[in-house]
């Protein structure tokens, strides 16, 4: 370690998962939209806040892992896998959700099916899907939290993909 520069932590989850180095032009560009940077991390924090009721943090992280795996967003999937393991989630469950293998728990199965559908085929959203979540035991605030979370992940996946393309163009303009 020769400089503290190399050791400076990433600005936020987006920086860490693109990833963007502190000195990189794309990172400097990103900071020109500092309000977007702050609101993106603020949204991430809200999506995984322990104070959100109706859906546990572990359930939300499993949704995120599944959404990113389905979207083939590898660096984001790795981020959520790490968070799950750090929270003490069951390794077999994490592996199953990451690979799309069936899970035993009926509630989780319903939530993950909704996740994949909303990520891949948002046009297929219908009232029956919402009713199925309610029947699986999700309250109205929990369903809103789940919808917001999956929709936010769609945003996060595209911000990371766009920044990765900008960073790649920076290397070979």
């Amino acid at each position: 370690m020769t400089t503290s520069y190399d050791a400076s932590p990433p600005l936020d989850v987006i920086d860490a998962t693109v990833p963007l180095a502190p000195s990189q032009a794309t990172r400097t560009l990103r900071l020109q939209r500092d309000k977007v940077v702050a609101a993106t991390q603020g949204s991430y924090d809200a999506m995984f806040s322990p104070t959100v009721e109706g859906l546990s943090v572990a359930e939300r992280l499993l949704v995120a892992l599944h959404a990113c795996s389905v979207s083939k967003a590898a660096t984001l999937a790795a981020h959520y896998r790490e968070r799950l393991l750090a929270e003490g989630a069951d390794r077999e469950l994490v592996a199953a959700v990451g690979s799309g293998a069936p899970v035993a728990d009926a509630r989780l199965r319903t939530v993950l099916a909704f996740t994949a559908s909303l990520i891949e085929r948002p046009i297929e959203g219908d009232k029956a899907s919402i009713d199925a979540l309610a029947e699986a035991g999700l309250s109205t605030p929990a369903i809103v939290a789940l919808g917001q979370l999956i929709a936010f992940l769609s945003y996060q996946i595209r911000v990371v993909a766009g920044l990765q393309a900008l960073a790649a163009a920076e290397v070979s303009p």
Partner: protein, 196 residues
Amino acid sequence: MTTPIRIKGFTNEVLSWKPWLDPVVVAAATPAQLAALDEMSPQARTSPYFLVLAHQPEMLLQRSIAFNAIMFAPGGMPRAERELGATVESRVNGCVYCASVHAQRFEQLAKRSDVISQVFEEPASAGTTAREKAIVEFSIRLGAEPGKVSADDVRMLKEVGLSELEILDLIHSVALFAWANRLMLNLGEPVFPAAA
């Protein structure tokens, strides 16, 4: 008034939206819920969509800040082109309600609707200039196949004159509508004005 556009189920007319979940009742809303609604817009307290989202006030608050920061940030990509990116993403995802709102905003800002008709008809070939075609093409790609967006796509935008800040603004706008469309499409449905 100009003739409304109605193409393939999409329109630039003003639509309503009916939620599939009970909205928060304003009179019973918490201070956090009211603050999140007011952060979005002065009209949010009367919108069924925002009143449903108010069930999770912190999520709505942050989303509202992100929305306004992306769509209204000064400089960078002209606001009309951000609205175009939003309309293309909404068209590709099949979000009739979002497409109508942002088609209207594009028209208000650009004073024309030619490209909107093209986007509704066939997004893949839409655009009245090389710059507009490149913006539409990139929006479709980032919306539909984010994992395949590459340095080549960025170069194509630069070739038609977009600055890096404009490209970042477009990325944010398309990504934001990947978010908004999924809420609109999955928590309720558009309601068309009564047939004349």
